[in-house]
Subunit: 796 residues, 2 copies
């Protein structure tokens, strides 16, 4: 929307006065939410009974957040443009709720919070109370795509929202506390990745109130020059707004927003007109205002306003301390509530008319309720990419390449001439390494800095997002999804733990979004964990860790899914399901190296739906389905390979033993039906694993992860799980399964120990397996570089 | 050591030539490790048999790392000073191994890698092979405190090493890939926290070879001006060294190192002489050299040197491709190996004499083997801090304050007039919030930026490290510990997940350090998780997450310990144990709010040693130890409180039912003895939990975490675990236990369902519990702000 009106740069005294009244109303409602349970319009003198028994919430950041909100409203009205407001300082929850209440959005979404005295009382009483609303800017807050609890991701979320939304400007408020975190510090490099032609803009507003909970902040105590240099070096040109006189600050802030908006539009107009954007500096605002601005200046002789002491509740013990109660009343009355509300307790028109209209309101914008913008992906038919599997286990294929092919076409079928498109892949510099590089047939890596002749698939218009930061990949994708698009984050499995806490927080967001009817479903967060522990044999122990499975498993069962495809067609089938799904977090764990292929596309689809199935061709012929002596289970590519090899050894050496082979693709299917929507019934479970026979289970991750899922199943102790037992180094694939005691030989030995009947010739087979393992150790000792590579093995 | 000699700033052509020969040797050995299994001195023409069957390792970053190492050696010799080398680009493993081999350290530590032809062959063959050494700079690499796999922590580790080591300079090489990560970006703010009087110095060397695996890097393509601004804004003054002519680069690098060293000493001399350090800019070096420098320039018509294609193995398929084999031989011979090794295959003296002597060698410095510097903490007697417990459950105390008192005295008893001391507390701005603020009686928060009259406990000489970055807290502490000191990282429980991956990587480090005799034990990594899920009722769902337990549980059992003290004396006893322990990762999970107190200090010490014990006073009198109908178990403060309340209800209402109460303090004690050193024998387990009776278990974290530990115990299905089931919001403490179905009433109902005998009056008690829960729901619906606070409850 480069044709957007530019802001009216005049800002008359009268207009400032109008805006200050909105601000008064917002500040009043912010403080009232924290303190009052009754007499919320102050129509009578304040008494202890009017005060909440427990004072929760944060005042300190509120007035600054509301000042930005107020002035932004005017800019939006003047420019008739789309903005999204990201509240980095999430503790400012009551301030954001106050503003969306003033603009009317809150009541539209929550009709019981009416726009009258009764509604204001409800607004106050619900805040930070059981059955009410949380203290943060959270999923319950209209206009938010960003939970403010765990700090560090505001600017990454803002970036994700701006990608491929050419008309949008994201005002991203970053607190100076948050600015100390690593992920936020890493987010400033956005100008290297934001394309002025097809992407919207991000306007960072670094809000320095100089203090966090108990002390000063680094930026708060840094000079303007240092901050200018810091931001300038990363592609930003900051404007400083500083002061404690509201009238002056509002005027300066308006000028800064006007300047920023017109600069953004100039950059975009130039870029969209074909001009080079090399060396572009995007505008940013640094706002220095006192912490707890307009709140109590001094309490009990201690300075509060402008210090860290204003962070939370500036006046405590108000019920029991008459002096504090008086101070609270004086403070609240300083906003002249009697002039802000009409007789019915509704906010006066002079204030409410300052809000933008309809979806332009920051609380109402569909960009903050991305499901409203979401269109399903155009997904090409999977058959185009399927690997031919004439016979299970007879061919070898790098498992992930088909997903690269699939995503190549997803990119092309979901792109737009007017903007980039609705799908992106995010990866820390590993797209090619993870064998997904077919996407480069359609689009490049995204890069706004200079390029050279030696670069591969790199351009300003590229839409594959590679940055060596799992935090940015994850945060950008989250912002992209929550504003109505689709995508996938592909990572080395071990390093996905770097952003594990972000996965946890996004899962919490989706969990709490679920019951909110007004939040339209969004595309799922899809995470591909590849270059897995078993096949990072070349990179060593630091690269070997399946821990994200354990971190995700205990989270909301309505949200999380863990997929362990054993081959390419399984991966395709699961990927399609994940791309179609909504409001989930899908972890897909599969290695990128060449692996044996087992299932046709149809079979893979059936098994993905069932979660797990018996592989009859791999077990003892004929009676395998009936009454096995031992059940062998594989979950994941390498475990499945070893299970199949073990089954083959058992079939060859002890054909008399009845062996059943089961493959598990959907890990959550192991949970009881009561604990997860994918959980199997006890009957289905018994059909697969028998009712009481022993089960030898080879698992991709830490073995006890499976045991935790199995609790509640009859006789869960009969499951004997092998998996990654935290043994690793730089070695060969086969040595990895040996080190972790999950090799085919270990599995056979376990099976022989556990089988219901002691099979004939079991001593011979035991001896053979032990000999193989001993020979391997001998190899390592004597000819360590001559180990047989596991890839040579094929199913026969 | 402000009196250190300044470097000899002349660097003659002859000296450059000498150093270039060291560099040739290092580069030769780097490439040889990657490629050769035989003929490692190139005494005959290269044949395919001489080439390793699998080519692993990374060449690209190696020559730059070796160039720095080489020139640094000269600076060390000239200045006779202590340096530590941190290799951020960990893939440069073979380069670092080459250098420490040249200086002689490698052979001293690993005598089988002799300094002759046989040793060189061994050096090459062991690299990246089963039974050999990993491909990274890793715990096996002499001179390293930093595993180079998971990128982001080089500068944080360097900082931790420098704190309280006034004589040390840490040369911290940061790759431009790593520089894109969030944690590294957040680490540049070090000058705000590094005290020139008592701390050593960190010299960042930002090594820009412009490319990561498959594409360019942001800094690599940024201008010198932008980088200068970026670093300048954070307190650094960079010197640029750029080029591809080795002779020129070496000369410039020497000048840059000389300048940096003398600037550092000037800053320190001034500061130690009492001058103000306000506005100090610390030196930094930006080194731009080609990726894969001196390696193959072009292969198969494609440019390699200076591009991302030099990242890993620049020549592949060497065994089968005669042209590549010839190129490899030409490349290797370009270093003139025939002149580098004597007849016996030993490196010539002209090279080896360039190494510093003894412990000044970068591979031999005790700073990189911190256990050699480690002195046990002086720990004051715990009795000084113990809470009086006349009667269990009769008094309430904020659990963590005693730890604050204890650490206050640990600070004072382990400080030094010459340097800060040997103990530090690290926390993201939460020391006071976590009720550990007694430490401020001894020392302040550390802060090198301006202060104001409103700051609390803040000064340049302060040694409590508060920065709003879990990554920095964790990384600084890791660096501090690995260089021979002690400390604790205290965090809000939920946000400890932010640095979970760092905990995983540090655990891996300690796991692999264990078998290395030459690595002296270091102090354990102690993490206090407080402000826990149960009592972040005021902060809401984003602040409620016990997931770090699940992330740590599957890691090396030799390393990880998880402690759940139920009260203050338990916390004291565990803290003392943790502070004395070595090479462990201790997770201590305890809330900061007022909680009931149960154990005397002696009792707490006994239970900490045992891991768990029966609380006879809490169960049915007399026969509780013998044959209970139901066992109630608490692990953690809030769960224990609810279990005790449940036991009380059962005793009052159904005195005929035999109830046993067990408390678990050491979570790993639940594991089988075979799986963890703390694991209980089956006999001890049965003594606590009976052999076959049902057990109702209230657990601090996710319930299935306990189930995974219990697998392998007889009849594990009889355990019924309640815990945090991912239900949360801003509410009251009691509502939290209700939402998660772990309230006393839920536990009673579970116990009545599970008890071996159906007790008389069980219907009455069931009705009572249901009524209480219904009343609670009613409260929430009608008077949500009037809920009874759980703190009022006392044991009677």
């Amino acid at each position: 929307m480069t044709g957007a009106r530019t802001a009216d740069t005049t800002y008359t005294d009268a207009e400032v006065s109008e805006d200050l009244r909105w601000w008064d109303a917002a500040n009043y409602l912010t403080a009232a939410q924290i303190y009052l349970q009754d007499n919320v319009l102050l129509r009578e003198p304040l008494t202890p009974d009017h005060i909440k028994p427990r004072l929760l919430g944060h005042w300190g950041t509120g007035p600054g957040l509301s000042a930005i909100y107020t002035v932004l409203n005017r800019v939006i009205r003047e420019t008739d443009s789309d903005w999204l407001y990201i509240t980095g300082p999430g503790h400012g929850g009551p301030a954001l709720v106050a503003n969306v209440y003033l603009e009317g959005t809150y009541t539209e979404i929550y009709p019981h919070v009416t726009r009258d005295a009764r509604g204001v009382r409800r607004l106050c009483r619900q805040f930070s109370t059981p059955g009410g609303i949380p203290s943060h800017v959270s999923v319950q807050t209209p206009g938010s795509i960003h939970e403010g609890g765990e700090l560090g991701y505001a600017l990454a979320h803002a970036a994700g929202a701006a990608f491929d939304h050419p008309d949008l400007v994201v005002a991203c408020v970053i607190g100076d506390g948050e600015a100390e975190t690593g992920p936020l510090a890493g987010s400033w490099k956005l100008p290297a990745f934001l394309n002025a032609v097809r992407d919207g803009a991000v306007l960072p507003i670094l809000h320095l109130n100089e203090a966090k909970i108990a002390g000063p902040t680094v930026f708060g105590r840094s000079s303007d020059d240092d901050i200018t240099d810091y931001l300038g070096g990363q592609g930003w040109e900051p404007v400083f707004v500083e002061g404690d006189d509201p009238r002056e600050v509002f005027a300066d802030l308006k000028a800064a927003l006007d300047h920023s908006h017109s600069t953004i539009r100039e950059i975009q107009t130039a870029a969209r007109g074909g001009e080079s954007t090399a060396g572009t500096r995007w505008p940013a605002i640094v706002l220095r205002t006192p912490k707890g601005w307009t709140g109590p200046h001094e309490v009990d002789g201690q300075r509060i306003e402008g210090t860290h002491r204003a962070h939370q509740v500036p006046l405590s013990g108000v019920r029991d301390n008459a002096e504090h109660l008086w101070q609270l009343e004086t403070w609240l009355r300083s906003y002249r509530p009697e002039e802000l509300f009409d007789d019915a307790g509704a906010i006066i028109d002079d204030v409410t008319r300052l809000a933008p209209e309809g979806d332009r309101r920051l609380g109402a914008t569909p960009y903050a309720n991305g499901g409203r913008l979401l269109a399903p992906l155009h997904l090409p038919p999977l058959s185009r990419y399927a690997v031919d599997v004439d016979k299970p286990g007879a061919t070898v294929h790098p498992t992930t390449t088909v997903l690269g092919d699939y995503m190549r076409d997803i990119y092309s079928e979901n792109s737009s001439p007017d903007y980039g498109g609705t799908f992106r892949l995010f990866s820390p510099d590993e797209t090619a390494s993870n064998k997904l590089d077919a996407v480069f047939d359609t689009t490049d890596r995204c890069w706004q800095l200079p390029t050279t002749e030696f670069d591969d698939n790199l351009s300003a218009s590229g839409r594959v997002m590679e940055v060596l930061s799992e935090h940015l990949c994850q945060g950008w994708l989250e912002g992209y999804l929550l504003t109505g698009r689709h995508g996938l984050f592909a990572s080395y499995e071990a390093f996905a733990m770097i952003s594990a806490s972000m996965v946890v927080q996004h899962t919490k967001w989706l969990q709490h979004a679920g019951p909110l009817d007004w939040r339209a479903p969004v595309a799922s967060l899809n995470i591909l964990l590849t270059s897995t522990c078993w096949r990072n044999d070349h990179n060593g122990f630091s690269h070997q860790g399946p821990g994200l499975i354990d971190a995700v498993m205990p989270l909301a069962s309505d949200v999380v899914r863990i997929w362990l495809p054993a081959d390419s067609n399984s991966l395709l089938s699961i990927a399609e399901h994940c791309f179609r799904s909504r409001d989930h977090v899908n972890l897909i764990v599969v290695d990128k190296q060449p692996h044996l292929q087992y299932l046709s596309l149809d079979e893979a689809g059936e098994q993905a739906a069932a979660g797990a199935s018996i592989w009859e061709w791999a077990g003892t012929e004929g009676d395998s389905a009936d009454d096995p002596d031992i059940v062998l289970v594989g979950a994941g590519d390498v475990p499945t390979q070893e299970i199949l090899a073990a089954a083959q050894l058992l079939r060859e050496w002890v054909p008399y033993l009845r062996v059943r082979v089961v493959n598990v693709m959907d890990l959550m299917a192991l949970l009881p039906q009561t604990d997860h929507p994918h959980g199997m019934t006890d009957d289905d479970f018994a059909d697969l694993f028998t009712g009481d026979g022993d089960v030898v289970f080879a698992f991709h991750g830490y073995p006890r992860a499976v045991h935790q899922l199995l609790h509640g199943r009859p006789d869960a102790g009969r499951f004997h799980v092998r998996g990654f037992s935290e043994q690793g180094t730089t070695t060969t694939p086969f040595d990895m399964v040996v080190l972790n005691k999950m090799s085919r030989y270990h599995l056979v030995l376990e099976a022989l120990r556990r089988a219901r009947r002691v099979p004939e010739r079991s001593d011979d087979l035991t001896a053979y397996c032990r000999e193989q393992l001993a020979r391997h150790r001998e190899y390592v000792r004597e000819h360590f570089e001559d180990l047989p590579e596991i890839q040579d093995w094929t199913w026969s």
